[in-house]
């Protein structure tokens, strides 16, 4: 279909003799908020990384914005990454950079503005995510919640059209959860597509327009919020 931003075509993945993903065939329409749900170890993070082009499938292919991630040249892959954002489950902040430099890194490296403009953008996002006091600290000096906010700030500062979030509100207090939700609302208005892994039914219920339910590496269900209707909340509570 023309408006699919990601197409997983019979994606399979094996590592160390173990099959982690079995023949996953599905698509993510542009502008949707896809929640991937399932038990721990069912392959959610693996499929997310493959969809993001951070890992190659063992079989099958992924098309992102029409580009085959298996066949793409490195510069094409990089061009795709430049339009995406990724929030890792373990945050993956660069440990020898300050929080300010971590958030500024994608802008500085990809030369998205002068240094003054970049500083202004980073200062603004530090205020939004309540990280001003931590701007000159290294990640090791931050709490888990602060690191999560810094990772989110780094992912959204480039105004991505496709945002991958792996457990974005895990270990966050209520105030920070609300900050994350507000950022999702703001980005949704710009048409950003989301692929989210989360174990919080409330979060999924508020935002999900599509739900993938996975078990043991297989995609068991691919629901749209429309088809679930009033059952959406119940289904989410059962599977999350």
């Amino acid at each position: 279909m023309a408006n699919e931003i990601i197409q997983c075509q019979h994606v399979g993945f094996s590592a160390g003799g173990t099959t982690i993903l079995h023949d996953l065939h599905a698509a993510v329409p542009a502008g949707e908020v896809l929640f991937i749900a399932g038990k721990s170890g069912c392959g959610k993070s693996t499929i997310m990384r493959i969809m993001a082009g951070l890992n190659y499938p063992t079989s099958g292919d992924v098309l992102m914005r029409g580009l085959s991630l298996r066949k793409a040249f490195n510069h094409q892959l990089m061009a795709n990454h430049a339009q995406n954002g990724y929030v890792f489950q373990d945050n993956a902040l660069i440990s020898n950079l300050t929080i300010f430099d971590n958030i500024a890194l994608p802008l500085r490296y990809n030369e998205r503005g002068t240094e003054a403009e970049i500083r202004e953008q980073v200062d603004k996002i530090l205020e939004t995510f309540d990280l001003v006091d931590d701007r000159m600290n290294r990640p090791a000096a931050l709490s888990m919640g602060e690191m999560k906010m810094a990772a989110l700030a780094r992912a959204v500062i480039t105004k991505p059209t496709l945002l991958f979030m792996d457990e974005p509100i895990a270990s966050l207090d209520r105030v920070r959860v609300e900050m994350v939700k507000e950022e999702v609302r703001v980005l949704r208005q710009t048409g950003t597509t989301f692929v989210i892994i989360a174990h919080e039914a409330d979060f999924a219920d508020e935002f999900a327009t599509r739900i993938w339910y996975m078990d043991k590496g297989r995609l068991l269900n691919n629901w749209s919020a429309e088809e679930l209707g009033d059952r959406k909340r119940k289904v989410l509570e059962d599977i999350i």
Binding site: M78, H81, F88, I94, N110
Partner: protein, 265 residues
């Protein structure tokens, strides 16, 4: 016998593959940097400068101390022995000692110190970045790791080792000359100095610099590759560091020997 030959053959192929891999990594790092599509060159230069500071500037103290110690100890021993030698042999004692320091010991000892200080740090840092998914994070931000991680470290290491080798040689030679002047100002110092400066032509200096460049490239690439291979090692980052150090030591001894012989020919 067949088993032994097979084992040797596999080993040789493994070593060949490893070193061709190093050359490929170096080539693609440089090619990526100079590609028109690659960005972030200013950041890469800054990282290279930081690497020069950590590897080169911060090692000046210890390199200077060890160069002085080597120059002094070897000088004292050789001049002591030279007292009992014929006048002709005495003339050349200081010169041979200086050339050994400059030609062989200087680059080798400098490389060993850099391996111990910076090689382990480099391998372990990269290994930790892989384990903590920082490499994936860089890719997710459209940052080419060949350009951002590999190249500045290689450049920083090469520049640092070249400068440190020159520094070592200067300190060691000055120490020996100073000793020679102290022992017999009119004779030993003059003859040693004259012979040394007669021998130090352009090709000699070029040989020392080429050796330093090879050492810098090899040490950095070996440590970087072992850092990236951390997930293959059960012991994790510490094992990456150890393998980086051991691989680098083997490299400098073998390549240093080969280059010394080549330049002698």
């Amino acid at each position: 016998m067949n088993e032994l030959l097979g084992s040797i053959g596999r080993r040789v192929i493994g070593v060949f593959s490893f070193y061709t891999g190093l050359i490929s990594l170096l080539y693609y790092s440089i090619a990526t940097h100079f590609s028109k599509r690659t960005r972030g060159k200013k950041i890469v230069y800054n990282i290279a400068i930081q690497q020069i500071y950590f590897t080169g500037v911060q090692a000046l103290g210890i390199i200077g101390l060890i160069a002085f110690a080597f120059g002094a100890i070897i000088g004292l021993v050789v001049f002591q022995i030279a007292v009992g030698l014929s006048p002709t042999a005495k003339d050349y004692a200081g010169f041979i000692m200086v050339m050994s320091l400059v030609d062989v010991l200087g680059p080798l000892i400098t490389a060993i110190i850099v391996i111990a200080r910076s090689g382990t740090a480099m391998a372990t840092e990269i290994a930790n970045m892989v384990v903590r998914n920082e490499m994936l994070a860089l890719e997710s931000m459209a940052i080419n790791t060949l350009n951002y991680i590999v190249l500045p470290r290689v450049v920083g290491m090469v520049v640092s080792i070249v400068c440190l080798v020159v520094f070592f040689c200067v300190v060691a030679v000055v120490t020996v000359m100073g000793l020679a002047w102290f022992v017999d100002p009119a004779n030993e110092f003059g003859k040693t100095a004259a012979l040394f400066f007669a021998e130090m032509d352009f090709f000699k200096v070029l040989g020392i610099v080429v050796k330093a460049v090879f050492f810098g490239c090899g040490i950095s690439l070996i440590c970087i590759i072992n850092g990236f291979k951390v997930l293959m090692y059960p012991g994790g980052a510490p094992v990456s560091g150890i393998r980086g150090v051991v691989g680098s030591l083997q490299y400098v001894v073998v390549v240093g020997g080969i280059l010394t012989v080549l330049f002698l020919l």
